[in-house]
């Protein structure tokens, strides 16, 4: 299907890449269908793009990139809510906030996006751990990670392994191989 987005133009999304958020996200309860867009830049940041509303997309990143010891401790009810039998079926992302002073960028560690890769159901799960922050500043950690592996593109594949995203870079049709959908053009603002 084709989806018109404000950020990436018109994207072609495979049915099997559509992720269903039965409860939406907090504050966006009416938006239930999303897909992941990979803009293909060096930041390792992906976008969780709404299908229902082309204007809505959330920048997301895997928390282990900037916080290797992060564990999303899911209780049985959480696992059930996204039909998970084991955490290995899941892909975990944090939503990012990028203010005008980018060095104060932050990630929501308290309420990660948990995606069941096989069933394509997902939820923003609020973790019980009271030490986790909704706005965890992580610019420094992300920078040191990116600088460390900037010269080694091969590592990138390992990090983004199993989730299906839409690749917004101009190399088309690799979506089959790694399961990411792709956009025809790079973001116009870039």
């Amino acid at each position: 299907m084709k989806v018109n987005t404000t950020r990436f133009g018109e994207l072609q999304v495979n049915k099997e890449d559509i992720i269903s958020f039965q409860e939406g996200l907090l504050g966006f309860e009416n938006l239930n269908k999303f897909f992941v867009v990979d803009p293909g830049d060096s930041t390792l940041i992906l976008w969780l793009q709404s299908i229902d509303d082309g204007k809505i997309a959330f920048p997301i990143i895997e928390p282990k990139i900037y916080k290797p010891d992060y564990v999303a401790k899911l209780v049985p009810g959480d696992m059930k809510s996204v039909e998970l039998e084991s955490l290995s079926q899941a892909k975990i992302y944090s939503i990012l906030t990028i203010p005008s002073d980018i060095t104060t960028m932050s990630a929501n560690l308290k309420a990660p996006i948990v995606i069941n890769n096989e069933k394509k159901v997902a939820k923003q799960i609020v973790l019980q751990d009271s030490k986790l922050n909704v706005k965890h500043e992580m610019y420094k950690e992300l920078k040191s990670y990116i600088v460390a592996f900037a010269s080694d593109d091969s590592k990138r594949t390992n990090i983004e392994n199993p989730v299906n995203t839409v690749d917004a870079s101009d190399t088309a049709n690799t979506s089959q191989s790694h399961g990411y959908t792709q956009a025809a053009d790079r973001p116009k603002e870039a």
């Binding site: 950020r7 990436f8 996200l25 907090l26 504050g27 966006f28 803009p39 830049d41 060096s42 930041t43 940041i45 809505i56 997309a57 959330f58 920048p59 209780v75 049985p76 009810g77 939503i95 990012l96 906030t97 990028i98 203010p99 980018i102 060095t103 960028m105 932050s106 929501n108 308290k110 309420a111 923003q124 609020v126 019980q128 909704v134 706005k135 992300l142 920078k143 990116i146 600088v147 900037a150 973001p187 116009k188 603002e189 870039a190």
Partner: protein
């Protein structure tokens, strides 16, 4: 909404396995004790508000923000 009046030390039972006790009353503050199965999620309401605010702020980001970030991140 069901409204119940409770005194210090009294409690409310929800289902068979959740119990909320008034532990302390001090001026405008009430301390509650909650006994619930481990898998029950208990949060202060403000947590949800903070997450909602973060989501709203995040949804307004643009690829231009990421481009700006990308420049800064790749600078040695």
């Amino acid at each position: 909404m069901l409204v119940l009046t409770r005194k210090l030390g009294e409690s409310i039972a929800i289902d068979d396995n959740i119990k909320i006790v008034v532990v302390q009353i001090k001026g405008k503050q009430v301390r509650l004790g909650i006994k619930a199965p481990q898998e029950t999620k208990i949060h202060r309401e403000e947590v949800y508000q903070a997450i909602q605010d973060q989501n709203t702020e995040a949804s307004q980001s643009t690829p231009a923000d990421i481009a700006r970030l990308s420049d800064a991140l790749t600078k040695k």
